[in-house]
Symmetry: none
């Protein structure tokens, strides 16, 4: 498939990477219903590990089966499916070559009580290669007292991944003692978290939709002094995209907790208007019955497909 002007433009931002990484970026950008648009919708499923199986899959018990998610990502025309080691091992042979895969390389369960949140490294670049993945995913928790260990593990993973031609996707999820609960999705914190991921060498950055809350006083002064618009979600999305290397890194937004279809679509519409590169939609997809999930993903794809 020839490259569209938009995909060529995006690739130009990653000119320091070797052709292997560029190739896998193209595989992501040129797959599925949004192929060639420079937009992407990714299906991520790590909630079994992160929140436990019953909270994740009871609403739609078919989703206990890892194969379900491969098929959902394929049928919905997603750009990629992202999951931890076990989930990918379960279906990677059966679904080989049908959808780009992202191996989520660290995960955190919610059984232990820890003061400073930190994820365990649960997979490796070696695993990603043997499973046929286009990239690796990694979560950081800016705000956690243990953040530095996560940044440092990521440094080694990213260096190896880039040498081997993989794409590095970073989930940047602020949390920890340094932040209020509200602050985890504050606009200043979200923009900051996206910047940190970009500085750590991420090719694609996933953040949560930011709220209009401002967490840090020094930041508030700037928003006010420069009258930076953060009223609407579109405004805030635009701000986060700008804050991430002036728009020269692919930033996508997660959907968060399950909610009503209208609410999901309205959120996506706002973010698309603000220049989001796409959505990574887990629970809102797989916790719905399959037909409903396919319809929702089709609607989301339609919104991004007609953006700009």
């Amino acid at each position: 498939m020839a490259l569209t002007t938009r995909v060529e433009k995006i690739l130009s931002w990653y000119a320091s990477e070797n052709p292997g990484t560029l190739t896998n970026l193209v595989r992501l950008l040129n797959h599925g219903a949004l192929a060639g648009t420079g937009k992407m919708v990714i299906l991520p499923v790590d909630q079994g590990f992160e929140h436990g199986p019953v909270r994740s899959f009871a609403p739609n018990p078919e989703a206990y089966d890892p194969d379900y998610h491969f098929q959902l990502a394929i049928d919905a025309g997603c750009n990629a499916y992202a999951a931890p080691l076990g989930s990918l091992e379960a279906g990677a042979a059966r679904f080989a070559g049908q959808v780009p895969l992202i191996l989520k390389l660290n995960n955190s369960d919610t059984l232990a009580k820890v003061e400073q949140p930190v994820s365990a490294v649960t997979g490796s670049v070696e695993d990603a290669l043997r499973l046929g993945c286009v990239g690796v995913g990694y979560t950081i928790y800016p705000g956690s007292g243990a953040r530095n260990r996560m940044y440092e593990d990521l440094r080694e993973i990213a260096l190896e991944a880039k040498r081997r031609g993989l794409v590095v996707i970073v989930w940047s999820y602020p949390r920890g003692a340094g932040l209020s609960k509200q602050g985890e999705t504050a606009i200043d914190v979200c923009a900051y978290a996206a910047t940190i991921a970009a500085q750590l060498g991420a090719h694609i950055i996933k953040v949560k939709p930011p709220t209009a809350h401002i967490e840090q006083e020094e930041a508030r002064k700037m928003y006010e002094k420069y009258s930076i618009p953060i009223q609407t979600l579109a405004d805030r999305t635009r701000h986060v995209v700008q804050a991430t290397f002036g728009g020269k890194r692919v930033v996508i937004f997660s959907g968060g907790e399950s909610k009503a279809t209208d609410a999901v679509l309205e959120e996506v519409r706002e973010m698309a208007a603000g220049g989001s590169f796409g959505s990574i939609m887990g629970r809102n997809a797989f916790q719905r019955p399959r037909a409903e999930a396919l319809q929702l993903l089709a609607d989301v794809i339609q919104i991004y497909g007609s953006a700009r």
Copy 2:
């Protein structure tokens, strides 16, 4: 020996693994009295390390001798015998080829007082190969503040084991500051622990029989909202099996502390009815006199053999 339809079905869930691992899976599934049924009864003996010798072997002093357990597993028709390095080294030559062996790769003694429980890695994939094992066993403690170190060690062990064609069996035993004592066997925690093991790449997962207790509030809401049946042990077993990749991973249940024969068999009957893939039975076997143990194991095997 040709594969039964059931064993073929089970192998299909592990299609991402190389033939060496599949071969050892078949050795496990096609050995002993339950060969070909897709069910398994494993004799595990790591209590000498875990609880000390006198608590483990005083009830049946013949069991101080590692050879005793090899012979018991062989004579009872178990699918495999699992033990730490020293135990296997003691008998592996003499009993070579007579029963599939699983090298337990980490262990924890009860002499030290630690805040966050964690096992020491006491053997290696190299050891497992030189001793002729079909697989390696590894314990994780979800709920411990030290769990991440255990997950990360397991990541490396599992990658190497799979490359070398071994089966990875994970003992998933919740404990630690994050959980109440009751919570260690709570149904929600047990299901969660099984999922974590599966996500970490385990081929076979061993958990404890879950109780009807629910530990986490967010989970309780889901059990209630979706009316998930957890009244009987059969119900709970069914739930744990489903929670483990929709039944696409082999989940077996341990017997726990020594108890009366009737209680053991009743428990097994319930779990078999709930779709358990088998039992891993240590103290209830080796702490009984040999003849009694053989009878008990025969009864357990009989239950699984006639299940489904």
Copy 3:
């Protein structure tokens, strides 16, 4: 792209490989004008190294430029483009993701006089990953006194390539002191060479179109005793395909020296009728003017596309 029944069938022959290798096999089989048919046409350009630039590119001087071949393979709808290190480095960034690449890992020039032909290893699996290739190519010379060194280098390359999820394509070109000139393409030798490549672990095997000549006396007796049909090229193709694991390895045929269009197409028609999985066509493509080459490749693709 969903898998066709035929591609699923082909994948089933490689079930011992890990999902990464299967994924790259699908990338090959599902790309270009023959996507999904189980047939493939590959553009290979290593003649600059093998025969020197003037013999290779003087007929069509645009072809001196490595970019020319990337574009030709893309525009013609080939399944892949195969070339040595330098050629791929020259264009891999510019054409990233537009056509599956195969890094040819060994090459032999024709400037030195050697008794026993042997190729130099000129690239590595590391190179293939950083350049974004789906597989590695390697030439063996059965018949050469130096063949064992080549087989042994291939062994190491193939093991690493498979661990990292790449496809292994072997050019099996009999030559050397053990064979007459005529024997290099003899039907018995060609079938033998294909088997050797398969036994060395090749996923895809490239041979030359075999002649009706029989080189080895012991082989001749069998062809006669069992009346194996080798009269037509279709017969011989069928025989080579059968000789390569009973048809369970992808065998493709090279086009050899430049010749008239009719001759090329007639040869391809015969081979397609005999069950060839496709053609790897270098000089007959790139030594023609571009428009003519595109037409020829379109015709070749059309023949394979309508076969069976």
Copy 4:
């Protein structure tokens, strides 16, 4: 470019380093508008990571784009541009060879609450080589309880950097429980911090402009007993330069927070008079509109160019 007497003099202080490091020192000293003077002005941009994007770039939104800083450093005739991994990856290919680059190897965000400040190691010497850098930058926090970990990480980085021919630049920024807020820029502390960096093997040392405050009682006694002049910034600069191996290490001073142009230039004039080797000026440069920033840097360069 032949070496000036001054540059030769400076190189003589580093005679223990291998020629690779000397070469990169010359590349720094002989680049830009101050080439050959032995003075340097460096553009550092790690504020996105350290203070967050909005506090850093809202005053001049063009500066969100990493390319902006490369171009600014080039156009202003700076000796080098220093930034974290992501920023350099974003532009290193496009601007290859146009300005010496320094990869900042550790960084600290301000989202977490930590008792003892410490930066995460976010890049490696490997990264610096693949990105074409002349050196690596590293921050230490003398005064922090975690300082030793930072010193020890630096030890390993510096050893590797020197073996590979890179220059080691250390940002020595006192902070932590051991110091009052005022003490962070106290003259005794600043001089001490410069010495520590020199002792850790830094080739170039960056400190903040020191105040006349004295933090440590034992130090105060000496300043008084020996009537060390610390009244003016020129005095204090002279003292810090002397304290850093008697002037035999390159010490440069940062500009700190944005301030009025006159204030910046007055500070630079004082430091130049005191023998500073140059300035590393981030926020005062990139937070101004581009034309203004170019003018300011030209003025700063002019001051250093005419010093001594």
Copy 5:
């Protein structure tokens, strides 16, 4: 120094390389009297090793001193100075940063009698980094029965050099049992040798000026059939440049044995007219008295500077 359009064009051919290699390419292209023209004149001095000291330096005894060559390359405005390990170690510290250095990584003496010429690997990428080199040089002897060992050593060196950001320069000097003495500089062999170097991943290729002799019969047919002009040295240069990736690799020509000034300049004029990227001139430079050598190099530079 900003890039000229020509240098930008040249860099675009190497887009698969990382920014470190691009940076060192720019350092080569932007240094000396030909900076920015895309042309280069390199001073190579490995004759001490290759031919012995007296044959090399007796005509101009000052040249026994390695420092002499550094100074000559600097004063003449050469783009680079290339020499074996010892020579560079002798002067690299003293002349650090004054001229780009190329470490010649293999060398062959003429004391041993060997049937198949082959050079020893006498330096490493590690050495090149510690000495501050922009690249490594390596000689291959196409035509030698030992060529494959040289190609394979080069493969490993080139992979490491590229990972570490160095430029790879290959001296491609046909010789060995496969070639007549005349054939070593035959036009067909020279073009072939340049192609081999390019395919092995060389960034810059050095060949000898080709004669009108044609060595291989198959090649002769092509020259005649396509009427490829090879009458003049300009014609032949044009042909070699074209043969090297259609002009998309930097090809430079050596001067060969000492000869009269007029002959040297005439040769250079012809090659410049034919599109040569420059000259690598050893004996013709350093075997002349210094003043004469400087004049000659100035004249050569002038020719390239005004070409095209």
